[in-house]
């Protein structure tokens, strides 16, 4: 395993109490593999990623337990100075909103070149050449001229390409992409996603793709981990999940995708609201919204059961769920 997260817990201290954002998440990703992490906002998918990168806003955020093993080393136990050398160079991250995530007052060339200056000790001029090279890589036209421009002078899709270029700069072995296409137009989304997938294959990197968009996942992911209220509720190869989900929440997510062959029918929506992280429901956190909920769901947290060699589900009734 390239990266293995084990039993990770993250809390946020707020004015109104402690929010338990991540409650015992374990997942892993191999070199060349794409793991899609799926969930609503507040499910803990981004927080887990931030904990892996070591960029949790802290305070108020804090990792209270767990391990993040990267190539066998526990990143959480590293000193900040050592961890810094991992960030960007070995594990890189792509953020959702490229406009706000890029520094508005520095040229994109400076921001790309900075990676080489800081991590490789390169001279500014050589770093600039590298930046142009990178921009070519992510197919930004007229890279030589545009390298001097500022983020606001690029279109949304081009900006996201710059974010990707920045992540790729030092050829890291793992990339975490946090909703990389959410802020983009639908037509551009596919282009950016294809580019990311292509580069991932080329460099044989591991990719953690955080998203709430099931459409994106089907094309590029190898495996899917579905998160709810800071826990993984189902983990499986992508085809298995689409064929037959083993958790009612996953089923709900799949059913709420609009489908062409069911035109005219009312769209399905999971009833109720996402849980309050200050006060997560007892037992299975999903039980207030679950159509299959029984008494046992209110009383006991379902363990993450191993269905077969590749699948896990945290539902007391996963067998019934699989049968539809």
């Amino acid at each position: 395993m390239l990266l293995e997260v084990r039993d990770l817990h993250v809390e946020f201290k707020t004015r109104d109490g402690v929010a338990k954002a991540v409650n015992g998440v374990s997942y892993g990703v191999d070199a060349g593999e794409t793991l899609a992490v799926l969930g609503e906002s507040g499910s803990g998918k981004s927080v887990t990623a931030q904990a892996i990168m070591g960029i949790l806003p802290s305070p108020p955020g804090r990792v209270t337990a767990g391990e993040v093993l990267f190539q066998g080393r526990d990143l959480l136990k590293l000193k900040e100075s050592e961890r810094r050398k991992v960030r960007g160079a070995e594990v890189a991250m792509i953020f959702q909103d490229a406009l706000s995530s890029l520094n508005p007052v520095l040229s994109v060339g400076d921001q790309l070149g900075e990676m080489f200056v800081v991590h490789r000790g390169m001279a500014k001029k050589d770093a600039r050449a590298k930046a142009v090279e990178l921009m070519d890589r992510v197919r930004i036209p007229a890279a030589k001229e545009r390298v001097k421009q500022y983020p606001h002078q690029f279109s949304g899709g081009m900006r996201q390409r710059i974010m990707i270029a920045m992540a790729l700069a030092l050829e890291p072995t793992l990339i975490i992409a946090d909703e990389p296409t959410t802020a983009l137009d639908v037509t551009v989304q596919a282009q950016v996603m294809d580019l990311l997938a292509e580069l991932q294959r080329e460099y044989n990197m591991g990719l953690i793709l955080i998203t709430h968009d099931l459409g994106v996942v089907a094309d590029v992911a190898d495996r899917i981990a579905v998160m709810y209220a800071g826990r993984i509720v189902e983990q499986a190869p992508v085809h298995d999940i689409y064929k037959a989900p083993a958790h009612p929440y996953t089923r709900g997510l799949l059913d709420s995708i609009p489908r062409l062959d069911q035109k005219g029918q009312e769209l399905y929506a999971i009833k109720g609201l996402p849980p309050n992280l200050m006060n997560i429901p007892s037992g299975c956190a999903f039980h207030p919204r679950c159509p299959m909920a029984q008494d046992i769901c209110r009383a006991h947290v379902p363990p993450l059961d191993q269905l077969d060699n590749y699948r896990q589900s945290a539902c007391h009734f996963w067998e019934e769920c699989l049968d539809g």
Partner: protein, 293 residues
């Protein structure tokens, strides 16, 4: 920042914003403390005899510059007046100047700025240039020029001057927040539903544009009190027999080496008063701006 938030129904969020601000304020010790100081100041400016039995104008030259003694804890000033009594009575002047100037500035500034922001166009352009003109004149300088020719030395010319030179500051804020509020979807919706201009302004825009004006006004109140003292120090503000901290500080400044108590008591009272208003404004801003929490 993907910070976990407690989801709640939208209407509950809207409803709780104001009560949330009040709850936040009451839990803020800075707010509670400054509010208590201000209440105390208002009470003693209405009824100074509650805590000071003497007459601020009854002086005895024989006791001039004497220090603290039983019954006269702050000592005597250069004219032999009781510093404690004068300090207590001075609150009334400062509070009057501060409150009246702020009221005038706020009413004039928010009406002019609000209308300019709402209607835009030529009127807005003209008002913006007028505002620029007033900003170009240094306040103390304008005060000197204007008040040096107005005689009398009562609070009213001073207040008038502050309103005259102070309104652009509020008008700029009011204009900005009305323009912001105007662009909100619910205002556009109300307009599309045929609401009249006056209804739009009073019911939909004003309640949402008022917060920044309140914050600016509270902080400005403190600075007006401070400005009155400065003008009195320069000899163009208030004049005796008006009792004012500014006058007393000014009168005491030549004797600062030998009898600093004459200066320090009114100056201290002045500083505490201004501090209370500025801290109050600061606390209100924190409470009204959820981003900063």
């Amino acid at each position: 920042m993907p910070e976990p938030t407690a989801p709640a129904a939208p209407q509950a969020v809207a409803r709780s914003l104001r009560s949330d601000a009040i709850r936040h304020l009451l839990r803020n010790p800075v707010f509670v403390l400054s509010a208590l100081v201000i209440i105390f100041l208002i009470v003693i400016s209405l009824w100074p005899s509650l805590i000071a039995s003497g007459n601020p104008l009854k002086c005895d030259l024989a006791k001039a510059q004497q220090g603290s003694q039983p019954g006269h804890p702050f000592g005597y000033d250069g004219q032999g007046c009781d510093v404690y009594t004068r300090t207590v009575y001075g609150a009334r002047t400062s509070v009057t100047v501060g409150v009246c100037a702020t009221l005038g500035v706020t009413v004039l500034g928010s009406v002019l700025g609000g209308l300019a922001g709402f209607f835009g166009g030529l009127w807005d352009t003209i008002l913006s240039r007028i505002t620029d003109i007033f900003f170009a004149i240094p306040v103390v300088l304008g005060g000197l020029a204007l008040l040096s020719v107005v005689t009398g030395g009562t609070v009213w010319p001073v207040i008038g001057f502050m309103v005259l030179l102070g309104w652009p500051q509020v008008s700029r804020i009011a204009r900005g927040s009305v323009i912001t509020a105007k662009q909100n979807d619910y205002v556009q919706a109300a307009r599309a539903l045929g609401a009249s201009n006056s209804r739009l302004l009073l019911r939909h825009i004003a309640p949402n544009a008022v917060a920044p004006v309140i914050v600016v006004a509270t902080i400005a109140l403190g600075t007006y009190i401070s400005l009155e003292a400065t003008l009195s120090y320069l000899g163009v503000g208030l004049k005796p027999p008006t009792v004012s901290w500014g006058i007393d500080i000014s009168a005491a400044s030549p004797y600062i080496r030998n009898a600093p108590h004459m200066l320090l008591w009114p100056a201290g009272a002045l500083a505490v008063t201004v501090l209370a208003f500025i801290m109050l404004g600061d606390a209100v801003r924190d409470a009204l701006d959820p981003k900063l929490r």
